[in-house]
């Protein structure tokens, strides 16, 4: 084989290698990450805007000593006062917070709702809740950035449902509806 031919073969092999690399490489995507669904929820404890503490680990630990009917499902809502999708879903969250969820078997299951402020400030959050209602805990402190990233959140609103066992059962990107959030809750 002449050097020219050998060069062409090497060039062809390198080209094929690069094409294979590009074809088999994971898509560079800015799509939401749902890998957390089915995995244990990242635990956190943080300050609410009213100064109390919300501790997910504590709720899940308490669930262990309770009967299924008394165990608590937790909805974690990533929200911001500047987010229009959050206004859209707010009435659905009010319903979820004020009513216990009736499971398919007819039993009433216990739930808790917590919102985590996403790139926001206390004053705007208080104004938002004064305007649209709701008195569930809203977390905002130096640790909420970490919680947001631990849950692979990309924008607001995003809502995570955590089963009493501590596993993430669903992640809803965009405004929720009551039915979408509560579908599958059992106790």
């Amino acid at each position: 084989m002449s050097f020219g031919k050998a060069g062409m073969v090497i060039l062809a092999l390198v080209s094929v290698g690069f094409i294979t690399l590009l074809a088999t490489r994971g898509t560079q995507s800015n799509q939401p990450n749902f890998d957390l669904v089915g995995e244990p929820a990242p635990l956190f404890s943080s300050q609410t805007i009213s100064g109390s503490e919300f501790n997910l680990e504590q709720i899940l630990l308490e669930n262990r000593s309770l009967t299924p009917r008394d165990q608590v499902w937790v909805a974690i809502n990533f929200f911001a006062s500047w987010c229009t999708g959050c206004i859209v879903e707010h009435d659905e969250l009010l319903t979820f917070h004020s009513e216990s969820v009736v499971a398919a078997a007819g039993t009433r299951c216990k739930t808790r709702l917590v919102s985590i402020a996403f790139n926001d400030n206390k004053k705007d959050i208080e104004t938002f809740f004064e305007k649209y209602g709701g008195d569930w805990p809203v977390l905002l402190d130096e640790g909420t950035n970490r919680i947001t990233i631990d849950y692979s959140v990309m924008t607001a609103p995003e809502t995570i449902l955590v089963a009493p066992s501590g596993l993430v059962v669903k992640k809803i990107v965009g405004p929720i509806t009551y039915d979408k959030l509560t579908d599958g809750i059992e106790c």
Binding site: F3, V14, T27, I149
Partner: protein, 166 residues
């Protein structure tokens, strides 16, 4: 003739020295002298905003980019290494958020390929020159031709020496 060869060798040695010194200085770890803010800025420039398309968080105004920037700063202040911080974001959003390709695994080809191609090119050139040289010296001359070549070479050498002396 000898002077010419010596000066050429010296040039190569000097060039090699410059390259080696540049590589040594270039590979020295300057991170030891970086402040926390500089480290955080450098990391923010090499981690993509998950909501955007390939834009680093340092250049994005998206809310999640602001959250990540603040968290990178907090992680740097907590003493976490660059590698730990990068792998945390890759774990949460996917390997694609690392704008600098990994130097291990399949992605390492990006770093290795240029050196490989330069190696192949140099090897090819060396072989091509060697082949041309062997082809040109492979011609068998008759005795008369050899004497003619010898005479021409001697005449050329004499002429060159006289030019140098002048």
């Amino acid at each position: 003739m000898l002077t010419k060869i010596k000066s050429r060798t010296l040039s190569w040695i000097l060039l090699s020295l410059v390259v080696i010194v540049a590589l040594v200085f270039g590979s020295l770890n300057e991170k030891d002298t970086e402040t926390s803010a500089e480290r955080a800025a450098s990391l923010a420039a090499s981690i993509a905003c998950p909501q955007c398309s390939g834009q680093p968080v340092s250049e994005s105004s998206a809310p999640i980019a602001q959250v990540i920037k603040a968290e990178i700063k907090a992680q740097v202040d907590q003493g976490r290494s660059d590698r730990e911080i990068r792998s945390y974001y890759a774990e949460q959003y996917g390997e694609w958020v690392n704008l600098n390709p990994s130097s291990s695994g399949f992605d390492a080809i990006v770093w290795v390929a240029p050196f490989l191609l330069v190696g192949i090119a140099l090897g090819g050139l060396t072989l091509a020159f060697a082949r041309r040289q062997s082809e040109s010296t492979g011609i068998e001359l008759t005795k008369d031709e050899e004497e003619q070549v010898k005479a021409i070479r001697e005449q050329f050498a004499t002429n060159t020496e006289s030019v140098i002396e002048e």
